[in-house]
């Protein structure tokens, strides 16, 4: 089973990297970008096909390592 964990900065947390990217887009002439926040995507392949179990495993992975929940939120998706 394939899954994706998306980690994003919590709102209110300063994101200098996102700001730099936002500035670069502006200087490239890409119009209409109001703001950019940078995050991380983890594509994970899981053994087994039990969806509930898979979600629990991914949540565990995100809590223990993939995200620093002091500053980041995460979202778990099962892609089938």
């Amino acid at each position: 089973m394939k899954a994706r964990v998306t980690v994003t900065l919590k709102s209110g947390i300063l994101d200098p990297q996102g700001k730099a990217i936002e500035g670069a887009l502006k200087s490239l002439g890409v119009d209409g970008v109001a703001s950019v926040r940078q995050g991380k995507v983890f594509d994970i392949e899981l053994a087994g096909s039990d969806k509930a179990k898979a979600e629990a495993v991914l949540k565990d992975a995100a809590d223990k390592l993939l995200a620093n929940t002091v500053i980041e939120n995460y979202r778990v998706e099962l892609l089938g």
Binding site: L14, P16, N68, V70, I71
Partner: protein, 233 residues
């Protein structure tokens, strides 16, 4: 003073640290590999040195913080043992949950490698007793992610409980925006945990301990620790 210096893949300041510890305490530090599950018996001080553990993959210090040896360090700290984390070591201690907060990218996005001034906020801690409260010391920094941040309540608690031991300042000891090199909350350069036995700091005191280095201001930190341990023993 029996010190244990932790070694993770990608760490590069462990020898500087071991040299400083030897210089001040006269005793050779034990180098402890990250895959170990126990600290050497009789360890007086655990040091998590600087560098780029695991190439800063995922987040600075994130992977090292989950290494087998860190369970032993957690147990050691829970028992009141002294733990010092410098630079990447500070990041590792935060990621391991031994210290609150997080070290974010420097506010101006640049890697900063230069001498900075720090104000020692109090002298009644094992990590600062080699200095006077209010004293200004000069030590180097070398980091890209040293911008200390925590939620408002945590920062308020750190301040209220006097847990900020080192703060970025000017040569005259003035804490202002200009001297706050990386944009850290409250110009925080070093904090201790609630119990006061775990210190994390971004600057490198171990690199200002000998005349040949051009400055010996960092020596006080190690000398203070040695004096504290002597008194305790």
């Amino acid at each position: 003073m029996k010190s244990a210096v932790l070694v993770f893949p990608g760490i590069n300041r462990e020898h500087d640290m071991a040299r400083a510890l030897k210089l001040v305490s006269g005793q050779e530090a034990a180098m402890v590999w990250h895959a170990e599950t126990e600290l050497p018996k009789g360890t007086d001080l655990v040091v998590v040195p600087g560098g780029f553990s695991y190439g800063d993959y995922l987040r600075c210090g994130a992977i090292a913080a989950r290494a087998p040896i860190m369970d032993a360090v957690r147990k050691y700290a829970d028992g009141g043992g002294l733990v010092l984390g410098v630079c990447n070591g500070f990041q590792i201690l935060c990621e391991a949950g031994l210290l609150p907060g997080v070290l974010m990218r420097n506010s101006k996005l640049k890697f900063i490698c230069k001498d900075v001034h720090l104000r020692v906020e109090r002298s009644d801690s094992p990590f600062t007793r080699g200095y006077n409260a209010g004293q200004v010391i000069r030590v180097p920094v070398a980091h890209g992610e040293g911008n200390y941040e925590a939620d408002e309540e945590t920062v308020k608690r750190l301040e209220g409980e006097g847990r900020v031991l080192y703060r970025y300042c000017s040569a005259e000891g003035i804490v202002d925006e200009e001297s706050n090199i990386n944009g850290a909350a409250q110009s925080i350069a070093g904090i201790v945990n609630e119990r006061g036995n775990v210190l994390g700091m971004m600057p490198h005191p171990e690199n200002h301990v000998e005349d040949i280095m051009g400055c010996t201001d960092g020596r006080g930190l190690f000398a203070g620790l040695a004096a504290h341990l002597d008194k305790a023993a």
